[in-house]
């Protein structure tokens, strides 16, 4: 996905992206579906404990007499091996999923954007060094670096988030470098430079804020991608630990029973799929609006 944003990125960020998005989204049923999904996900993340029919079970409390019940009106998603209501577990899984992705994307931006902006603004040796380091991190197949970092640090949600951020920041560095390179030639930056404004101030006041639109588009799409990545790590046993209602972990837990108690894995996996789908649907339209060639 990141590649596409780089390819679609105009030389200078276009104004009014949000406004154009609002106008376009009502005419695009797919993107509209995506917006609805994202809103539902956020509602689940914020208000999960109040929406879930059995919030205490969602948080991990067991209810052994009701174990492994198939989906029914009382438990639409069935119950798990400890008798916990799966619907509640899935709803309450929204919060860790969203929290991890925000954390990962935020950290990756925090590392990548300043480095990229510096590289694009200063050019020369600084640029060369920063971009070679970036290339190195991008030379690992997706997720492999994150996996080996988690393995080195030990499993856990915080380690998984850190590992994902370490393998994600280079994309933001590349994006920020691209915009910074074109911004440094603009007259307002040149004016600031000729007045003796320090590089640090120029970067903070002019370069970084003006690079943000394409970076925020990338961040939006990445939230979905990170939900998938974090879910994948958790599925392998490299993410959250029980009793966290983590979707990836729930899919892994249900795997042994997949042929008979299919609902244990099916619904948490569906939650991951729908969430990722929502961000990709919205991302598709955002890329469309950024694309100067109109190839979509």
């Amino acid at each position: 996905m990141a590649v596409e944003v780089i390819q679609a990125m105009p030389a200078v960020p276009r104004a009014g992206l949000l406004r154009r998005f609002r106008r376009a989204v009502v005419r695009d049923p797919l993107a509209l579906t995506g917006v609805v999904i994202i809103v539902l996900l956020l509602v689940g993340a914020i208000a999960g404990p109040w929406i879930a029919p059995y919030p205490e079970q969602g948080a991990g409390q067991s209810n052994v007499p009701a174990r492994m019940l198939p989906p029914s009106p009382a438990h639409p998603f069935g119950t798990d091996g400890l008798g916990r209501d799966m619907l509640s577990r899935v709803i309450m899984g929204a919060r860790p999923a969203v929290a991890v992705s925000l954390l990962v994307v935020g950290l990756a931006m925090l590392i990548g954007v300043p480095l990229g902006a510096l590289a694009g603004y200063r050019r020369g040796r600084v640029d060369a060094v920063i971009m070679r380091i970036t290339d190195l991190f991008l030379a690992f197949p997706p997720l492999l670096l994150a996996m080996s970092i988690v393995a080195a640090l030990g499993p856990g949600l915080d380690h998984a988030a850190l590992a994902l951020a370490i393998s994600w920041w280079p994309w933001y560095a590349r994006l920020a470098r691209g915009t910074a390179t074109s911004l440094r030639e603009r007259s307002f930056v040149e004016a600031a430079r000729s007045m003796g404004v320090s590089d640090l101030v120029i970067l903070r006041r002019h370069i970084v804020p003006n690079s943000l639109p394409p970076i925020l588009v990338q961040a939006t799409i990445d939230i979905g991608t990170v939900i998938l990545a974090a879910g994948s790590l958790a599925f392998l046993g490299l993410g959250s630990t029980p009793p966290t209602p983590d979707w990836g972990l729930m899919v892994a837990d249900g795997r042994t029973f997949i042929l008979d108690q299919w609902w244990l894995s099916a619904f948490p996996g569906l939650a991951i799929f729908i969430s990722v789908l929502g961000f990709n649907l919205v991302g598709d339209l955002l890329l469309d609006l950024l694309d100067p060639r109109g190839t979509r």
Partner: protein, 338 residues
């Protein structure tokens, strides 16, 4: 062209050197005490001291790095803590299983993705286009491990059509054993004319390959669509239309070749995705390849195995990128300038 190849090769070599620094750092610096982990939880202080000396962990870091590099270059990738066998040997023994799976997935994904992309571009903004857009977005959003489980329920449990896990029916080991020639079961059974095994292996490949192909299909379809639309907007296409050439001729003979150049990049990307994508597919289908080895290593803190896989995967990735760049520069000479 030669200069481009030389420069590109030098670049790859530099990246590999950098990668070795990162894997070295991960193996030696991140764990608080590599020696203790090497021995396991029951380590006594004197054991740790002995292993520390044996592994050279008491020497300065640059010296350690050089020793690490020499070992890597001479094929000594350490011994897996889990299987007690040399890591490189383990990796190479499992490689054919994984490559067979990836090849099967690509065989499904590349034609399907390109066809869907062409279909979508030639019916732009009409129902078939919408359908293909939905398919490709769904493809890139599906968690492979979940898709695998669903397919198992559907095709094994409900329809009784396809096998659940593994590369081959274990019962065939006695009645129709597969000769161990290349490690690629399809190839080995075909060479020896063992068609019973060949058919069984094919059936075992279907579900894992489809699972691994879902993401690449989505990505390739998207890219083909975008570059087809761009190619169809070129002047030469307008000229061809004005000259009265049929739409079919324009799509298949004129534009497709040009449109496929950017698609090579995406094919490279999806191949690279498959390197780790196969981990999840292998775990779900109990496929005896690199992925199951890697995941087992990750969970058991088998550092030599994990670092070996990481370096091996990164090398594969660098190689794929190199090949993609070379193919692209051969197809489109303009890219040689970059």
């Amino acid at each position: 062209m030669t200069r481009f190849i030389v420069r590109r090769l030098a670049g790859s070599a530099a990246v590999l050197l950098g990668l070795s620094v990162i894997t070295f750092a991960l193996a030696r610096l991140v764990p608080s005490n590599p020696a203790a982990i090497y021995i396991g939880p029951k380590a006594r202080p004197e054991d740790i001291a002995r292993i520390t000396e044996q592994l050279g962990l008491d020497r300065p870091l640059p010296v350690q790095y050089l020793a690490y590099m020499r070992a890597m270059l001479t094929g000594d990738w350490g011994t897996s803590i889990g299987t007690k066998r040399p890591v490189l040997e383990e990796i190479l023994a499992r490689l054919p299983a994984t490559l067979e799976l990836i090849a099967a997935a690509m065989l499904i994904a590349i034609p399907t993705g390109i066809l869907l992309g062409i279909l979508s571009a030639s019916w732009r903004r009409r129902p078939p286009d919408l359908v293909v857009r939905v398919i490709s977005i769904v493809g890139v959003s599906l968690p492979a491990f979940w898709l695998g489980l669903l397919l198992q329920v559907l095709f094994f449990r409900t329809l009784h059509l396809l096998p659940l896990t593994g590369r081959v029916d274990p019962n065939l080991r006695f009645s129709f054993p597969i000769a161990d020639i290349t490690g690629f079961y399809l190839l080995d059974s075909a060479i020896t004319g063992n068609w019973t095994a060949f058919v069984d292996v094919t059936w075992h490949l279907v579900l894992p390959a489809i699972t691994l192909a879902a993401y690449p299909i989505g990505l390739i379809a998207r890219m083909t669509r975008a570059s087809m639309i761009e190619a169809l907007g070129q002047d030469y296409v307008r000229a061809a239309r004005a000259a009265g050439l049929s739409e079919r001729l324009i799509t298949w003979r004129l534009t497709l070749k040009n449109a496929l150049i950017p698609v090579t990049t995406v094919v490279g990307l999806t191949l690279a995705y498959s390197l780790t994508g196969t981990f999840f597919v292998e775990v779900v289908y109990n496929w005896p390849g690199l992925g199951t080895f890697a995941v087992k290593g990750l969970l058991n803190l088998d550092y030599p195995a994990v670092m070996g896989i990481t370096l091996f995967g990164a090398m594969g990735y660098v190689l794929i990128n190199l090949v993609v760049d070379l193919v692209q520069s051969w197809l489109d000479p303009r890219t040689r300038l970059a």
